[in-house]
Symmetry: C2
Subunit: 444 residues, 2 copies
């Protein structure tokens, strides 16, 4: 019976078939210890020269790393290690002998591995990351489904940009001129919320920025819920409930993978609501108290500005300083309007502020969520579109959402790969997606 290695403990003392690839093999006198991976895990086999035919023994000696094999054997408890099972192999079928495999068990440089991403994905660390990514996305979708959000796939081809066209990829589109690749499904999700109450998008988004940081890609996945009749507080309540669910479920269901990644999950176990909520203005005060300056380059070179000026956006050192005293994600709300997008609603109590909300992951993983209550006043929205020099004509359909039954509404965007980085403790976003796309890479 063909089984996957993650189910092996259910078959103690039974004969099973494993179909996979040779990960490694050791010899010790008249014993061979092949390790076979099948994508679900790695099982150690034991081949005893005295128990198998000459053909079987010889076949094992022919194997190279990553050769594909079908092996048959009896599942046995490991003599010493608890909860570990081995396979006493009695037969093998060689499917394919691999040519010398470029990725050996020693260390390789990142560009070498990225050029071989299609093979690098087979390594236990990459397999573990992909399985955690899978669990994160399924958890998100299950949360949304169970909470009566409707999936609302936003279009990728758009005639206009959410926040201007300067950082957009474009393509020729028949007789209609250019189509731009969406950098956010939000505006469409707002139409969805007016139709369906609560919706979410989850799909790829694109930014044509030449940014080579460890947190940026040109193509990344984003989840964007949008809710009619939700104000900023409802939005923050949802963020807390949602993040708690996803984090707790992933660490429960993907223990094995997080162990492979050497992730300290005690920190993730603390992600329970409520989270600390501070205003942007309070955040600036914290930075000033901690003496975290803003570095800004002037024409003459580098200039240090102290204390942190109200109105500026936070960089990595500020984000790190803001989360270091907390063990949970930190919610920062009410941002300077000048720094934020045109669609964010002004704070009725202070027109210099918008009802925006960002969430910083703990442990210095930076911003994972950005959201806001949306401007629902048609006149203020039109004003903002003008202020931002956006093409009014292209936004008429969006303005319609305020023309016909405008309601308070809110939403946010979660960067999937940043979430993967946080949960898996990845230093660089390139490992968080099967085939990362960055300004210098579209291959393989």
């Amino acid at each position: 019976m063909w089984i996957y290695t993650d189910k092996i403990s259910e078959y103690e003392n039974k004969e099973v078939i494993i179909k996979g690839w040779l990960y490694n093999i050791r010899a010790s006198g008249k014993l061979l210890f092949p390790e076979i991976r099948d994508g679900y895990g790695i099982v150690q086999g034991v081949v005893s020269k005295s128990d198998v035919s000459e053909r079987v023994w010889d076949d094992f000696l022919k194997l190279t790393q990553e050769s594909s094999v079908i092996v048959k054997g009896i599942v046995k408890k490991h003599p010493k290690k608890t909860d570990v099972y081995e396979l006493q192999i009695n037969d093998i079928t060689i499917v394919n002998i691999a040519e010398p495999y470029p990725i050996t068990l020693k260390e390789h440089g990142v560009e070498f591995l990225m050029d071989r991403r299609h093979l690098w994905l087979r390594s236990p660390r990459q397999v573990a990351i992909m399985r955690v990514r899978h669990e994160i996305i399924q958890s998100i979708r299950d949360y949304m489904y169970q909470n009566d959000f409707v999936l609302f796939d936003a279009p990728i081809f758009t005639p206009n940009a959410c926040e201007g066209t300067s950082t957009l990829f474009s393509t020729d589109y028949f007789d209609l001129g250019k189509a731009y690749l969406s950098q956010s499904g939000q505006l469409y999700a707002e139409a969805g919320a007016m139709a369906l109450g609560k919706v979410y998008t989850l799909g790829p988004t694109f930014r044509a920025e030449y940014s080579m940081t460890r947190r940026h890609m040109t193509e990344f996945w984003m989840m964007e819920p949008e809710m009619a009749y939700y104000d900023l507080n409802d939005n923050m309540d949802l963020i807390e409930d949602f993040l708690e669910y996803v984090v707790q479920r992933v660490i429960k269901n993907r223990k094995k993978e997080l162990e492979i990644l050497k992730r300290d999950t005690t920190k993730l176990e603390k992600v329970h609501k409520p989270f600390p909520r501070i205003t942007y203005t309070e955040a600036v005060e914290i930075l000033r108290k901690k003496d975290i300056p803003l570095y800004r380059k002037t024409q003459n070179g580098e200039e240090e500005i102290r204390p942190f000026p109200w109105g500026e956006d936070f960089g990595a050192p500020h984000e790190e300083a803001l989360v270091e005293d907390f063990e949970k994600p930190v919610i920062i709300h009410r941002w300077p309007s000048a720094a934020k997008a045109f669609y964010m609603k002004r704070d009725p109590e202070n027109p210099d502020l918008v009802l925006g909300v960002d969430v910083l992951a703990p442990e210095g993983f930076g911003e994972i969520i950005g959201g806001s209550q949306r401007e629902d006043n048609i006149n203020l929205l039109i004003e903002r579109i003008k202020e931002h020099n956006l093409p009014m004509e292209e936004f008429q359909w969006y303005i319609d959402l305020r023309r016909y039954g405008s309601v308070p509404h809110s939403g946010f965007g979660l960067g999937i790969e940043r979430m993967v980085c946080w949960i898996c403790n990845l230093e660089h976003i390139r490992e968080a997606i099967p085939f990362p796309r960055r300004p210098n890479r579209i291959r393989p």
Copy 2:
């Protein structure tokens, strides 16, 4: 307490708040019957002039279609209709009075509606379709999750094309020249299957074809599972099990929506495995017996070819003839190699055939699935790439999957919107996605 209308039966004789939009309103003497939609359904309210304040009564008289309102009232069983609940309204807050709404309850032309897609989505029919779409996609993901497939998001930006670049959208990509928008994640999913065993992709795909049929869009969503160590029969077994699960779950969970769509679900109830499986050659024999010709245009006009020639692909009339005797999806396997993609494995018993498989939906909804066992022989694969004049250099990574531990493997692609058309009984694919993209439309 704020509730959504789909939960109203749980609140009989209790006071609740509904937040929504005015769908319609009728007056009858001293009674008003406003219908309020909230995205989850439509509830009929009853406003009795003798029971409410003058302000409340007057507010209702001000309402226009799609005005946003918050109403409070007591949930009551409908006096005559079973399982229907109404709201005895005692208070109202007007959130926004809508300008005259362009989509009235009478009929409108399709282009008129498509220009107002952001508003058209609010109509009960469109809401029902979106909820069925949501259930279909969640069912697919749940099936994959429960059966230990790993989500493997394929890249959108690709340097090369699965089946040539002639029908691809392209964008400038920094110093790397052009990037093409993926029309299938399959080749990447194959790398995923070699790493993870069983994977699936589910994301948008793109075809730059000027095709204005009722079954084509330039941007559509596709689900593509890929399984290591699966042969053609395993692939067909999976297709049956998978389709049965999705169809049965959707008709169970979305009864109300399918009723709104007037879908005859007795036909869908019959979608249980096994499905009829016929070879392409048998399908051609059926067409000949049924006397379904192939029409082909020659330079001189129209020419009729009789009987149907072996080797040709099926058009809509052939697909309809092939499914009309069956009540289930029809699986057609073993296709002429000349008509199919380079990556399909040749039938070891007949080199004129490939181990491809298409699935035709019942009731004339056409092809919903296309798949195959993949060519796992490196030499034959290289030959095919040459025959198809594909750029060998760009396929080296794909050939690597045969160089390092090649295994038999299979997969298929399911068009999400075609599935939505079938389940919802839609005549045209443009209703199967929130914002359809076709050669003449990228707005709104």
